[in-house]
Amino acid sequence: MNPLNPEDIEDLKQLIEFLKENQVAEFELERGDVRIRLKFSGPEVPGNGVSDLASLLAGARAVPAHPAAQSAAAPEAAAPATADPNEGLHILKSPMVGTFYGSPSPGASPFVGPGDHVAKGQVICIVEAMKLMNEIETDAAGEIVKCFVTNGQPIEFGQPLFSIRES
């Protein structure tokens, strides 16, 4: 095989750049006795190179999850490269399974709302489990940004409850 001369190599480099820019996955070229085949590895997509069953499972678990988990933005689910609205915020997750209550009692005003400042250890909600009202304390100090759940919603262990901008 004739070795490529410098101009050919330049051409090849430009070709590769062009293909990359235009997100071409595979390219094949035959000219005379020269044959070039290029294959680019794709972006990291969940399930890439993995069996269908595994990708079904490892990927977004939006599937037959309990309604509790579905309505929360499950952060572990494969979130493809979109901007994370919770970036830099501390997420308070539920330490137990049960029912979420935002106020100390029905009709009373909520413990906290967006914009409120909380100290570490402050009670910010209740999770009821087996008829016991468990007061949940924040594990971080700062400003409440968002509440992810609604009053009376069933929640699971590890479910995101609040986002807090730490200070």
Binding site: A54, L57, A58, A65, E76, V97, T99, M130, F157
Partner: protein, 463 residues
């Protein structure tokens, strides 16, 4: 029938229970720890709730978490599977108090069978043969001699306060008893702070035989024959079969009747297994009862054609055995199960990690119960069972041939498994001839050559 059932378990048994529920039109709720997020039992349930971090005590054994999940999912019943909370009488009571049906016997019965001495007395009263022994603690060497006369040598002295082989001595004659008694006493006092001993008849080469029973909530009890589980290592079963070559039709029928009478008297409900040791004269002695479905239930399902988990659900829903079982129960053929564990086949060290290839054998007479799959992960927090390979044949020879064929086609890569160890056992002449007892694995593993051990870095006492 229940509208919704929560399965308080994980792995292959959770999937097994889910399957039975689905086939009965029952909606299913899975609970899982963070380590099991991508498990099959979670994937295939109608609803799934995360109940805690990986450690069992924080998740699967966490009663408030399980009950809380049952409440928010509004289930009618909980099936506890095996292990975990299945024989926890407190858990069964909490279910009852929370108005959730526990699929198993009433808490009082679980508690009774859980107290070894009480269970023995209950069996003794019902004329179920129990292992002869001293009635409680033996105060002096003289008393020990009297008991040994009565029970008959060989006997074993055991520490009341503990186990694990400490404070235990096997005594084969009256001459050696005084020394061994004192030695056991001293060892127990040292190990547990309490030297008190009791005595049991010792069986040199016992076989492990167990009987499967089903009882409805209307006082009816049926025996579904026996299983033999003598192939064990350190008290963990490796291979089980049904029926046992050692149990004669007469013994099977008589013991079956006796057990049913006994369990009816104590008010047993749902599925259970009564475990025995068999001595060299084919005498059976009761050791304990497991008040739940067992790992090896599929071999009984194979020879009887009865779906035991469905029977559990139907019994708990109030159906009678006469509606669930055929009028005459019969055994067909022979079934064997191999427990495939995620562990090194020679060193027996656990092998957690990601499975890269998983080819499950199939074909006539082959059943595989597993919750693993290619690219699945075996977490390090739980027991190492990853699959049960069950075969059924017209007789034991066909079952053996079928198992060898199936084992050779069971391909698992990425983790170590006990598949090659099972293949070696099935090639063993003694095993094939049905000549074994609970010491089989000890002898089998001792045959490993020094070279083989050196290759895998095993010490002499680690076999």
């Amino acid at each position: 029938m229940f509208g919704k059932v929560l399965v308080a378990n994980r792995g292959e048994i959770a999937l097994r229970v889910l399957n039975a529920c689905k086939e009965l039109g029952i909606r299913t709720v899975a609970v899982y720890s963070e380590a099991d997020r991508n498990s099959l039992h979670v994937r295939f349930a109608d609803e799934a709730i995360c109940i805690g971090p990986p450690r069992p005590s924080d998740s699967y054994l966490n009663v408030p978490a399980v009950i809380s999940a049952a409440e928010i999912a509004d289930v009618d019943a909980i099936h506890p599977g095996y292990g975990l909370l299945s024989e926890n009488a407190n858990f069964a009571e909490v279910c009852r108090a929370s108005n959730i049906k526990f699929i198993g016997p009433p808490p009082e019965v679980t508690r009774l069978m859980g107290e070894k001495e009480k269970a023995r007395q209950a069996m003794k009263k019902a004329k179920v043969p129990i292992l002869p022994g001293s009635d409680g603690v033996i105060a002096t060497v003289e008393e020990a001699q009297e008991w040994a006369e009565r029970v008959g040598f060989p006997v074993i002295l055991k520490a009341k306060a503990g186990g694990g082989g400490r404070g235990m001595r096997i005594v084969r004659s009256a001459e050696e008893l005084p020394n061994l008694f004192n030695a056991a006493y001293g060892e127990a006092a040292n190990a547990f702070g309490n030297g008190e001993l009791y005595m049991e008849k010792f069986i040199e080469q016992p076989r492990h035989i167990e009987f499967q029973v089903l009882a409805d909530e209307h006082g009816n009890v049926v025996s579904l024959f026996e299983r033999e589980c003598s192939i064990q290592r350190r008290h963990q079963k490796l291979i089980e079969e049904a029926p046992s070559l050692q149990v004669t039709p007469k013994l099977r029928e008589e013991l079956g009747k006796t057990l049913c009478r006994c369990l009816k008297d104590i008010g047993y409900q749902n599925a259970g297994t009564v475990e025995f040791l068999m001595d060299e004269d084919r005498q059976l002695y009761f050791i304990e009862m497991n008040t739940r479905i067992q790992v090896e239930h599929p071999v009984t399902e194979a020879i009887t054609g009865i779906d035991l988990v469905k029977a559990q659900l139907r019994i708990a829903a109030g159906e009678r055995l006469s509606a669930i079982l055929p009028a005459k129960l019969e055994m067909r053929g022979h079934s064997i199960e191999c427990r495939i564990n995620a562990e090194h086949p020679v060193k027996f060290t656990p092998s957690a990690g990601k499975i890269t290839a998983f080819n499950v054998p199939g074909g006539n007479g082959v059943r595989v119960d597993t919750a693993q799959y290619a690219e699945g992960v075996v977490p390090p927090y739980y027991d190492s069972l990853i699959a049960k390979l069950i075969v059924h044949g017209v007789d034991r020879n066909e079952a053996i041939a079928r198992m060898e064929r199936a084992l050779s086609q069971f391909v698992v890569q990425g983790i170590e498994t006990s598949i090659s160890m099972h293949q070696a056992i099935f090639a063993d002449a003694g095993f094939r001839a049905g000549e074994f007892d609970t010491k089989f694995m000890e002898r089998f593993l001792a045959k490993k050559t020094d070279k083989e051990c050196a290759e895998v870095g095993l010490q002499a006492d680690e076999r």
